[in-house]
Amino acid sequence: MNNNTLSGKIFDAANYLFLGLMALVTIFPFLYIIAGSFATDSELTARPFFIIPKTFSLNAYRYIFSTDTLFHSVFVSVIITGLGTAIDLAFTFTMAYALSRKQLAGRNAVLNLVIFSMLFSGGLIPTYLVVKSLGLLDSYWAVVLPGAISGFNLILVKTFFQEIPFELQESAKIDGCTDIGVLWRIVLPLSKPVIATFALFYAVGHWNDFFGPLIYLNDSSMWPLQVVLRQIILLSQGTIGDPNNMDPNFVQPPDQAIKMAIIIVGTVPILLVYPFLQKHFAKGMMIGALKG
């Protein structure tokens, strides 16, 4: 840490070098995907790795946006992510707040139930049966409701609420605030960084979720982006169709550049959310880390 001594400088330099290398290692595959999505297919077969394509081509993007399937699925994903995150936050924060109040009767019993659910889950098939018998199949509720509260997040938020001085809440009460009022006017404004952090956690989770929609939604027009993405990426050439009798001009199944373009389309929107939350996010993580 001391930059004035020689060994300190060497240590710092080594650190920067190491971290820089790590950053490069993680960022290069992503750059390759971006470059590949703008490259021609012949370049992708010929060159093993590049980050600037020789010929710049928008064909892959033209192809994937030639139907409205992708637009539609992005729209669906946005809905699921928005709705899901709102529900998750509402349920997690209200429950966490209630559990953070010491005067709540049966608090420990409820907490134990939550912890129990974190250790033992019902498993895929029982969950499916519950969703099915509740009549949620083929509706977006099946995707957003079953995982509405993450036990782990709930406990983190509860711990954070306990850190807020109880006297503050008491004084609000004396000024005539209801319980809901205390939560809404006093506690939540103080928890913006935490809200931002968990909003990001939940949103990324919903955005990336493909298994739930796959299992619960049978109608292809309800599929979110990730399911469509998976469907396209796993369609590798050679396993579809019998090209023996095929016309040479027949539209070929998606190739490398198209897959890469789709990955970009699937990743960029959720990446764009991050800068807006970044300020709060850093703060929120710190609050989680520095206890007592």
Partner: protein
Amino acid sequence: MLGMVNKGKRAALGLGMAFALTALAGCGGGGEPANKPGSEASGAKTPQPFKISVMIPSFQTTLPKAESSNVWKKIEAYTNTKLDINFVPNSSYSDKMNITLASGSMPMVIEADPKSPSIISAIQSGAFWEIGPYLKDYPNLSKANPTILNNISIEGKIYGIYRGRTLGRNGIVYRKDWLDNVGLQPPKTIDDFYNMLKAFTLDDPDKDGKNDTYGMVVTKFSGPWDNMQVWFGVPNKWGLDANGKLEPAHLFPQYMDALKFFRKLYSEKLVNSDFAVMDSAKWLDPVVNGQAGVIVDVADNAGRLEQKMATSDPKAVIDVTGSVEGPDGALHNLPTSGYSGMFLISKSSVKTEDDLKKVLTFLDKMNDDDVQLLAGYGIEGVNYNIEDGKLVQVADDNPKPEDAFTDLNQLLMFIPEDPTSKMFKPATPLRAKVSQVQKENEKIIVPNPAEPLISKTYMQKGAQLDNIIEDARIKFIVGQIDEAGFQSAVELWKKSGGDEYIKEINEAYAKAQAADGK
């Protein structure tokens, strides 16, 4: 992935000519209801449409829907059914199937791999109808291929209707122009094949003055080795030994001959040395880039390569052949299993024999030429046009929901055969040759006698057992172990359950033989 021959292969798509199209347009072939939906409303003799629920895999992102797809409606009208199709993305099909099996609410017809453990145990617990005895009553289903029926049967009984695929699909695809450059004839024997690879590696087949080519591309997918060892007379997974007992392929003496040949190819650098780790998705790339000249895999790679080479190297000429003569002077070809999944009929949703017959009638009708065309290619004038007597699919950038049909071809079974092969003219001469090669392969295929037999040991430990031999084979090829090392791997295989596996397969075989004799 290229080599995963049958799994997930979508129904054959083809383009071509007129016969069936006129049949469809003229409403021939007994397909009357298809073009006269009106008669159904007025006709008192038409019974109520029978409601059938089906679960099939999907490969598209926009799926046809009952209320909007015209092809769907035409199929319903033709078969007088009301179809409730549940399309499941193929990539997660087995997950969804296991959930469906467990949740107890099964569709009437379900597409499934008859060899997956969960399906075998569901069959053994009586979840599906045994339909073998009924097949003879149906005009199309009765003509099912006996080899494939044997392949899908479980303990000698047939529980489903297979979705047929090309049996003799494998072949050798090579650069004909390179072969001409080095002055060789197309290979007829294994020696010719070896000489071809050698010349492609050493004799500068691309005439650029540089030593930058090699013979054959192999990837981590084991298909090429399996294909080539059959040329040597090694059985397809299981064969009969001198005493009439079934033995696995690696216990036959020819297996070692084949392995030594592979080792020679590897040590002389006639194949790529990174084959054991090379991703099979990149299989075609070295050929497209002009680095390698031979691929031993499904013969229809030829058409795919021809198309790719058209942009990268228009001078390239691709050719294809089925097999080369082995040491015994005969031709052998490794077949595919001949099917891609089968349709099982659930006992819990199809309760009576009467309903079962209705479902079978539907499946039988799906094999009529008219419906096959409809489900495979759509409607003339909308999804395809006839130009110069050839079928040309309409490239539609923005398909309307009423035109969506592509995944309906998952309902096709191609029994007794895929009509498109005789109806349509292939797009290029090479593709015609591929079809011909695959047709001729059917005469020289080596069936696997143990395909329908079930071994409990294999269901439990099959993956480990296969791995032992697979590892030893690769190690032998790259020279990490010698013959004794391979033998000790075989011993390990036997001890790890191989002995029981052999015993169980032979017991099942004896039982099946006895049942046949009756």
